[in-house]
């Protein structure tokens, strides 16, 4: 159905007016709300509110527009224009559907419409507008009165700017330039924070801009030093060399104190000494092989910045005994970069430098010969200036293999032969005998006898060696035994035998001093065993060993006579006995406990005690730890006043403990912000590791009450007659 254009114009004008009114009413409070939220909830909250408000307004406007429809129009016409005869609704109906009378009325209304002057727009609601504005003003006033909360995600600079107010100096620009020492080859870097980490000996350059402009600015270091900044245009500049980790504070003159005057911390990254890894040889002591021409050495050295210099120090020790000559030579080595840097690069650090060094020492050129030692050592310097860090590798020794016979005292690395070696020999004799019996068919008699005799000699040597344990005298010399087969005199028994022989053959012609009667035994007699060796064998073991020796005698007898088949059973029995001895040689020592002998009261205190007196007052209490730190810990506990200066001095004196700087920073913060509970807790946490251990204190029990005392007295009183 089409509406008459005149009516439609009226309707649209009214709709627009109503929309404008609604919009005008809603806008000021919405804007004020956005401002309020911007203040208390930040940009995100304000944006969310704005979006919600816009959606709500849109819905309201839509409803307002919908409300202005034909029904509304008909009612409005009826209400405003009496000429409409309360039948304006007819205007909006199809003429065709109307009854004839209604159609007639409709036509009349259409005619009257021309003459009608109507304004259906609602009047501007002045009072409502005023109320809306007042509400908006109220909300805005609240927004500006509410203090802006500090937000955690704000950067310190941003937080200090609005929050500080007019009575504090603000840092408007920070630039901290870290120029690492040249040898580190690290680039200069610029930071916008006052805390950082930097390589040791780096030059730190500050460029600060402050508002309002102070008269002078300095950096106060935790150890009392000051770095005065100079004025350069709007900026304050200053520089310092980072010798060790430090804490500092910006101090201003003739200006309000800094808004954020925390202690700032710069950690020095020390240049570590190079590390050396020996790749070849695998062990520090290498025995030279026969006909060895060269001695290859390989090292890997790594350092955090770079290796300046590496040299191989080769020491050649010649000679033996007291006559040893040393020659030392230094070979400068050039390294090759190793394939990969192992350490994960840190932002403030360059990747680790890893170099490999290889060198082969020419033994012939060195003159390496029998009995010599060559000691090689790599010395590596890093590039630190002015004093390089130096690392030495472990000493690598190339040794000419020791002569297995001879002198046992001089060489350390040779293991003493132990008992099991002998037992193997008896078994070897049995094996040899059996082999001889097997070969008997192929051998002529003389050869057979010779071999049997040789085995007999071996058997004799073995018997003699066991005999030494029993204190038997050795008889004669190892006839035609080869020197090496004896096993040398490097055993205890051998040494004993040698000493014994030497003593027996010692010239007795030395003039005996008169009265030296005690030496008669030493002169004419000799000991057959040494006490320690003999006491190791208990009587049973000795008996078993004696039986073994008897069997060996018999075996030797038959071997010497060329009858190895008869010797074999004796040999076996000797082996059995030796086995028993072997099992008996496990020695158990009684555990020595605290069982002291009961003092003999009769003999006790019978000595001369003249000039002896009491000794008194030898105990002095150990020094307690830092009382100032303990006092601070206890003061932090309650709400008492702390002696900050004393604690600070005590902390300053503890230069060797791990995180003194952290504790100092925490102390400073807690001192400056007395109401900050977290600061106190942080300081306590930092102090705890520095607190001295104290000895366990003592206490007594509480005094008993009157009833308890009476009870005890009754208990103690002598029992009365029942």
């Amino acid at each position: 159905m089409s509406i008459d254009p005149r009516l439609d114009r009226l309707r649209r004008a009214a709709g627009t007016r109503r929309c404008l009114v609604a919009f005008g009413l809603a806008l000021p409070p919405s804007l004020a709300g956005v401002v309020l939220l911007l203040r208390i909830a930040g940009a995100r909250g304000a944006l969310a509110f704005a979006v919600c408000a816009a959606i709500a307004l849109g819905i309201v406007l839509l409803r307002v527009t919908r409300g202005v429809d034909t029904r509304w129009l008909a009612r409005a016409l009826d209400a405003r224009a009496p000429a409409m005869d309360d039948s304006a609704a007819l205007l909006f109906r199809e003429p065709a559907t109307l009854a004839p009378l209604a159609a007639l009325q409709r036509a009349r209304l259409l005619q009257r419409l021309d003459r009608l002057v109507l304004d259906l727009r609602p009047a501007w609601p002045r009072r409502a507008f005023a109320a809306s504005l007042a509400l908006a003003l109220l909300v805005s006033a609240v927004a500006f009165l509410v203090p802006a909360p500090r937000r955690a995600d704000d950067s310190p600079a941003a937080a200090s700017a609005p929050g500080a107010g007019a009575d504090a100096t603000r840092l408007t620009a920070i630039e901290l330039t870290v120029a690492p020492p040249a040898y580190t080859r690290l680039p200069e870097r610029h930071e916008t924070a006052l805390d950082t980490k930097a390589p040791q000996d780096a030059v730190l350059r500050w460029r600060l801009r402050l508002a309002p402009q102070p008269a002078a600015v300095a950096l106060a270091l935790h150890d009392g030093r000051r770095v005065v900044l100079r004025h350069d245009g709007d900026d304050w500049r200053g520089e310092a060399t980072l010798a060790a980790s430090m804490l500092y504070r910006i101090v201003v003159d003739a200006a309000p104190p800094l808004a954020d005057d925390r202690l700032h911390r710069i950690d020095a990254i020390t240049d570590a000494a190079p590390e050396i890894r020996v790749l070849a040889p695998e062990r520090t002591l290498t025995l030279a092989e026969a006909h060895q021409k060269t001695w290859p050495l390989a090292f890997e050295a790594s350092d955090d910045y770079g290796i300046a210099h590496a040299e191989l120090v080769v020491t050649h020790a010649q000679g033996s005994g007291e006559n040893i000559a040393f020659t030392e030579q230094v070979i400068v080595l050039a390294g090759e970069p190793a394939d990969a840097a192992k350490a994960v690069p840190d932002e403030a650090r360059a990747p680790r430098v890893v170099l490999r060094y290889a060198h082969a020492i020419d033994l012939a050129a060195l003159g390496f010969s029998k009995g010599d030692d060559v000691v090689a050592r790599l010395v590596v310097d890093d590039e630190r200036e002015p004093n390089a860090n130096r690392t030495r590798s472990p000493s690598l020794i190339l040794r000419w293999p020791a002569d297995p016979s001879k002198d046992s005292a001089g060489l350390d690395g040779i293991v003493q032969k132990t008992m099991p070696a002998y037992f193997r020999s008896q078994r070897q004799i049995i094996i040899d005998t059996e082999a001889l019996l097997a070969d008997a068919a192929q051998l002529d008699e003389a050869k057979f006898l010779a071999r049997s005799d040789a085995i007999g000699v071996d058997q004799k040597l073995l018997r003699l060696r066991y005999g030494q344990f029993l204190g038997e005298e050795s008889e004669g010399h190892a006839e035609h035994a080869p020197e090496g087969a004896v096993g040398g005199a490097d055993t205890q028994a051998g040494a004993l035998a040698a000493a014994h022989e030497a003593q027996e053959r010692a010239p007795t012609g030395a003039p005996a001093k008169f009265g030296d009667a005690g030496d008669v035994v030493a002169e004419y007699g000799h000991v057959h065993d040494i006490a320690e060796a003999a006491t190791l064998l208990d009587p049973d073991t000795r008996a078993t060993l004696k039986s073994a020796l008897a069997e060996m005698w018999q075996a030797e007898l038959h071997l010497r006579q060329g009858a190895p088949a008869q010797a074999l059973p004796y040999e076996h029995r000797a082996l059995d006995y030796i086995k028993q001895v072997q099992q008996a040689t496990r020695i158990y020592l009684a555990r020595v406990g605290l069982e002291l002998p009961v003092p003999d009261e009769a003999r006790r205190l019978g000595g001369e005690r003249k000039d002896l007196g009491d000794r008194s007052g030898s105990l002095a209490p150990t020094l307690a730890g830092d009382a100032a730190l303990v006092a601070l810990w206890q003061a932090l506990d309650g709400r008492g006043a702390a002696d900050w200066d004393a604690a600070q001095r005590a902390l300053g004196a503890r230069g060797d403990t791990p995180d003194v700087l952290g504790a100092l920073a925490a102390l400073d913060r807690a001192r400056r912000e007395p109401d900050c509970v977290d600061c106190r807790r942080e300081l306590r946490a930092a102090l705890w590791p520095l607190l001295p251990p104290s000895p366990a204190a003592t206490a007594t029990r509480a005094l008993p009450g009157a009833a308890d005392r009476a009870y005890l007295d009754v208990l103690a009183a002598p029992e009365t007659v029942r």
Partner: protein
């Protein structure tokens, strides 16, 4: 009753009238209709006045659901029980709610017995339940640290033994963190979840350790505070008489001097030659100023009759005397000590190696100590130190106002040698604290495990006592006399370290936050409730009449009425069909 009779008559009349009319109208299915009408009348009657049935019921017993009750426990409740639910219980709406147990007992005036189901009664309700609880059906404990055996206060320098149990995580890793957040001790809980850790109280003040339990894969099970108030000790006057120097004396004297004790010692080196500290004169005045005397058997044998008498007289007056057996006792010493109450006989056994790991809370040091081979008979003596295997190493008994102890552990100094100086000092300090003269003033008793919004009780406080909260607010305590002691209560509103100010003393005590150590609180409630369970008196199992629900009868009446309507309608349709 009259209404019931009237209704019954009316119903019977209506039913009979209906039946009579049905019998007389001459239409089909007469019998069925009569029967259904009578049944409908019966159903209506039962709907109005439901019949009662007898059910098992424990008369005079109230079942109380406490916080932490599980759904299974609620489902397992018998139908005939009177059940109330305390606040904080997640139970069906049908169960009656009660604001507290006392209120519930007033409502159920006949209930003389209470059966508790769930996590246990909160502290508020325990007094009301006293003497009434006959059974406690406990809910399973929550996962976490459910037992904590840690000292609430300690003296400076003492070793702290912190034990406990982790529920629901056998073999959990338990770590102890110091105030700086560093791990100071760590162990694995055993299959039951039991663990023991050790730390040291360094200096006086409050010490907040944290105990963290985590599973093997690192997931956190529980983390709770372990608050320890570390206090300064007092000076002890110690007199040492020894027949010869030994290792024990070396470390003991060193500890005593460092700990600030007044040490008088006389260690004989020879006849008339001794190593002397302080006075070490055995006269009445000196002994009266001495708290504890340590005498070994050789020094005892060398004591004259007069000094011995002076010593024993001083013990009667309160001096503590600790006899140390360092070797076989001479006969006269044995008889003297027997007169003091310790009948010592050399036993045939060799010196036994004993361990003190569990007693001292050492994790796995496996230090072996030697116990003198003595057979000590002391009928009225109390144990002073026991080895892990339960064998006695020291004992004490009362003599006059003082105490006499006997010590026959040979080598406690091994602790000091093994780097356990704190434990060594603690061992001797605790020993002397038991034996020494009573000198300290009475100290107020502080609440055991205070929690925010739970009543904390102080006993033995003075008149002007007050509590300072962590926020700095001071609240004076209103003390009342309770069994000869002045007690006061306080409801903490803040968590953290509070201070009880009593005269010139300031005693720190800790209040846990409400949501901290939840498992521990649950276990404490459970234990406290379990302690309330009294003897199970004769369980009265009677029956009572309970009305059946009306619903089924109403439905039955509705169904019968509908059936009647259908029957009548069908008959009417038939009739109209016949009529047309």
């Amino acid at each position: 009753m009259n209404a019931m009779i009237a209704v019954a008559c009316l119903l019977a009349l209506a039913a009979l009238l209906g039946a009579w009319r049905s019998a007389r109208d001459g239409r089909g299915r007469r019998g069925a209709r009569i029967v259904v009408q009578l049944l409908a009348a019966l159903a209506l009657w039962f709907c109005l006045y439901p019949p009662s049935t007898r059910e098992a019921h424990r008369g005079g017993e109230l079942v109380v659901l406490t916080p932490g009750v599980t759904a299974a426990q609620v489902a397992a409740l018998a139908r005939g029980d009177d059940v109330v639910a305390l606040p904080g219980v997640d139970a069906p709406r049908a169960i009656e709610r009660a604001p507290d147990l006392a209120g519930a007992l007033r409502r159920h005036a006949d209930a003389s017995r209470v059966r508790i189901v769930g996590g246990g009664l909160p502290a508020r309700d325990r007094d009301a339940a006293l003497g009434r609880v006959v059974a406690f059906d406990a809910a399973p404990l929550p996962r976490g640290i459910v037992a904590l055996d840690a000292p609430r206060d300690a003296l400076t320098g003492h070793a702290l033994r912190i034990g406990g149990r982790v529920e629901g995580a056998p073999g959990a890793r338990v770590e102890l963190l110091d105030p700086a957040g560093a791990i100071v001790a760590s162990t694995l809980a055993d299959a039951q979840g039991v663990f023991t850790l050790a730390a040291q109280a360094r200096v006086a003040g409050t010490l907040s350790l944290r105990l963290r339990a985590s599973e093997a894969n690192g997931t956190r099970v529980d983390e709770i505070d372990v608050p320890v108030a570390v206090r300064e000790g007092g000076a002890l006057a110690l007199l040492v008489l020894a027949g010869a120097p030994d290792a024990e004396l070396k470390y003991l004297r060193r500890w005593a001097v460092d700990a600030g004790a007044r040490l008088d010692s006389r260690v004989a080196l020879s006849d008339g030659v001794a190593l002397v500290e302080g006075g070490a004169v055995l006269d009445a005045a000196t002994l009266a100023a001495t708290d504890v005397a340590l005498v070994d058997e050789r020094a005892w044998a060398a004591l004259g009759a007069a000094p011995k008498a002076a010593l024993l007289h001083a013990v009667d007056d309160g001096l503590g005397l600790l006899l140390r057996a360092t070797g076989p006792l001479p006969a006269e010493v044995a008889s003297d000590w027997s007169a003091l109450g310790f009948d010592v006989r050399a036993s045939a056994q060799a010196p036994a190696a004993v361990t003190l790991d569990r007693v001292l809370g050492i994790a796995d040091a496996r230090l072996a100590f030697a116990r003198r081979p003595f057979d000590v008979q002391a009928s009225d003596a109390a144990p002073l130190l026991r080895a892990d295997d339960g064998s006695l190493l020291a004992a004490w008994r009362v003599r006059g106002r003082g105490r006499v102890g006997l010590w026959w552990l040979d080598d406690a100094f091994r602790l000091a040698l093994a780097g356990e100086r704190a434990r060594y000092g603690s061992l001797w300090s605790d020993t002397f604290a038991t034996i020494a003269r009573a000198r300290a003033g009475a100290s107020p008793r502080l609440p055991a495990d205070a929690r925010v919004d739970e009543r904390a009780v102080f006993c033995g406080v003075g008149a002007g006592a007050a509590v300072e909260s962590p926020g700095g607010r001071s609240t004076p305590l209103q003390a009342v006399d309770e069994a000869g002691e002045r007690c006061a209560a306080y409801w903490p509103a803040e968590a953290g370290w509070h201070v009880l100010v009593d005269d010139d003393r300031r005693l720190a005590w800790h209040v846990r936050a409400r949501d901290e150590a939840v498992a521990l609180a649950a276990a404490a409630d459970r234990e406290a409730t379990r302690a309330l369970v009294g003897p199970r008196d004769t369980v009265v199992r009677d029956a009572r009449a309970v009305a059946l629900p009306r619903g089924p009868f109403f439905l039955a009446w509705l169904a019968l009425a509908a059936l009647l309507w259908l029957l009548e309608r069908a008959l009417r349709a038939d009739a109209s069909a016949h009529a047309s």
